[in-house]
Every structure is written in C-alpha cells, then in structure tokens.
Symmetry: C2
Subunit: 224 residues, 2 copies
C-alpha cells in the first residue's frame, strides 16, 4: 500500500482530504500540530477523525514564541468576518494569518515522508472560499513541490515527494459535497478560530463553513 502523510488540523477541509486520500488507496499517516493555537480543541477533533479513519497519527508540538497572529496571541481579537452575496470579504490578509505556518507544517511532513518512504503529502489547502492566506494558493504549492525535489535525498535521486492539494480549486459547497460522498464524520470536525465550547459563527472560518452547508441546504452536524 502506498503511504501518504496527511496534514490534519481537525477542520472540514483536512478531514475531507484525509478521506479523499484513503479513498484513493493510500495508507494515511496523519500529522497533527499543537502550535499554541487558540482553538486547541481542534487537536482533539483531529485525533478523533484520525481514529475514525483508522489511520496512524502523530501529534507534533511546536512553539512559535514570536506569535505574529491573532490565532497565537490572545491579546489580538479574532476579526468578525463579513459575508457579502455569499462570499467572505476581508481587507487583505486577516490577522489570523500565522507567519509561514504551512511552510512549517509541510517541512515536518516532508521530513516524515522521507523517513517512512511516503511519496505523497496531502494538505487541504483551498484558494476559492478562503481567508486569502498566501500559503494556501496554487503558486505556493508549485514552488513547494520544486523545493521538495531539491531538499531531499529522495528528490535528488530522481524520485519525488509530491505535495497534493485535492481541494485547492473547490468551493466550500463542493468540499461539503465531497465530504458527504466520502462519509467524512462531519460531526467530529471543528473549524472555528475561537476555542469556545460552541463555534462562534462569526469568524472567517465559521462563515466559510456556513456558506458551504447553506449552498447545499444542509444542516451542519457540528453546529447543532
């Protein structure tokens, strides 16, 4: 069975990506990060999802003492997002952006993939219904794929470790539809940037998620 490393945050997109990879026949090795995020409860969701998918997982603890993001710094408020005709509108890149986060996550994934002989890394990045983060865009992944070749023993030997982004061009509604088809345990996922008992319903991540379910006139099992 071909191995893949899956970046699993516990949200809708990464859970769907895990089930997508499993559906394609990969043996999934999930990486879950505890990086000081305000919404730590997503880690518990990620663990439950990995178990539901009968997949291996590792929790990696990292510290980013310089913070630089409202997701890491409780003194900065999470912005309330605005929906205009079905889209989330932001002015530029919001303060929930964590400097170089996906580059850090992918670099660990690259190390893990090379060590266990996995040829693919899956990440649920999306550049349609998203917050505008630079490291969620297709061009970023094209370059990271070149880097993966130059950076690794496997890459310089002519093989490659490919970064795969199955959701990158999908709308949130498409993602929900895919999740339903793949029987993702949607009730276990957690998307809200705030770490409360219930999703806040007002941050970017909640609004984007709502948009997906609303478009399909579906109830969101995690928001009951």
């Amino acid at each position: 069975m071909k191995k893949a490393v899956i970046l699993l945050s516990g949200g809708l997109d990464s859970a769907t990506t895990l089930f997508w990879a499993k559906n394609k026949g990969y043996k999934a090795h999930c990486l879950i990060f505890n990086y000081g995020q305000r919404h730590k409860r997503e880690i518990g969701s990620a663990v439950k999802i990995a178990k539901a998918a009968k997949s291996e997982f590792q929790i990696i603890r990292i510290s980013l003492p310089w913070k630089g993001s409202s997701l890491l710094d409780n003194k900065i408020n999470i912005p309330v997002a605005k929906m205009v005709t079905g889209s989330v509108v932001n002015r530029g890149i919001p303060n929930t952006y964590v400097p170089a986060r996906n580059t850090i996550f992918l670099s660990f994934a690259l190390s893990y993939a090379e060590a266990i002989g996995a040829g693919s890394i899956f990440i649920g990045a999306n550049a349609v219904d998203f917050s505008g983060y630079p490291d969620c865009r297709p061009g970023y992944y094209r370059i990271f794929n070149r880097l993966a070749k130059a950076a690794t023993k496997k890459g310089v030997a002519g093989a490659s470790i490919e970064i795969v982004t199955p959701l990158i061009r999908k709308t949130k509604a498409d993602i929900v539809r895919t999740a339903v088809r793949l029987r993702v345990p949607l009730g276990l996922t957690w998307s809200c940037y705030k770490g409360g008992k219930k999703p806040c319903g007002r941050c970017d991540s909640c609004l984007l998620r709502k948009k997906g379910f609303s478009a399909l006139q579906m109830e969101d099992p995690a928001y009951d």
Copy 2:
C-alpha cells in the same frame, strides 16, 4: 538597524555566519534548535556564541519522532569519514543526513523573520567542503528564496525575506580565514557529530574542520 534571523548550530560555519552578518551591520536574532540531535552539546556552544556576539537568541525545541538519521538515532553508527588528497570522500549522502532538516529550520526562521520584520535570514550552508546533503546546495536556496516570496504576507506584498548563504562557495580554509578575520570565538564552537567530551576527530564534520585548519597551518582552539 536592519534585523536578521541567524540559524545558529554552534559549529564553525554558523558562528562565522553570525559574525559575518553582524559585521555587515545587522542586528542578529539567533535561532538555536534542540531537535534531538546526538551532539546536544552544540546547543550550549551556540548559546555561548550568541552571548559572545551580544545577540538575541531563542532555543526552539522540536521533535522528529520518525528519526531517519544517525544524528537522531543512537542505534545507527556515525560513519567514519575518509580523507583522500584533502577531500572527504563519501559514497552518496551519508546517514548523518536528517530528512528535510534545513527546510524545517528555514521555515521557523521565515516565520520568525516575518513576525519581527526582519528582511534577511542567514544560514551557514556550504557546498564545497560538505557532506553532500541536498539542502546545502545553491539550487536549493534559490528555490527557497522563491518560496519565501510566495509563502509570506510580506512576500506577496512585493517585499521579500531573503535567505543569505555567505559561505556557500567557500572552502573550509576560507571559512576559517574569515572566522579569524571576524574574531569569531573559535574555541567556543563545536562541530563533532558525536556528543562526546572531546571531538571524535573521525566523523565528516571533524575531518572537514581539520582540513580547514590544516590548510592554514593553524591550531584549532576547540580541539586542544
């Protein structure tokens, strides 16, 4: 004063790089990694060097539970290197290679640089007298520089965080010469891959270091 992030391992090359950046007028913010390396004592050396350079430093602890390297796994022997007419001869990439290590280090540096508003990241990579690691080669850094632009808020806004490799084309003798000129406290540096009380004198890193000092007919103050 323009800020720079410096990757500081505690070895000859990174110490020289720190003093090189300082000499160019940068305010240095050093990143020191505790990543489970066998030669943990390099961390203490790095701290002493950062202090000697009157620079800020942060120690970042990371775990790479998948190992994949003799530097992380005590069950794998560190290879004894061979010197042939002044060069270290290896068959391919040695087992001291840590999968994606420099990509991980640079990704943290990129995050740190963006959070504190530093425009440069310095790393003492060398592709002349080196162990053949893929992530020490110029082509790798060219791609990482492109990634840094695509990955960050600063990069997509048109500015950049540049990865600078001042030693990449130097011989080890050139590096020692540069270190002496910049008054690097060479006696504080630690290069040996084994974590013993004294350097082993037989691993790649020891042999490359010896080569540099021998070429200048200099005594190595760390090997007394």
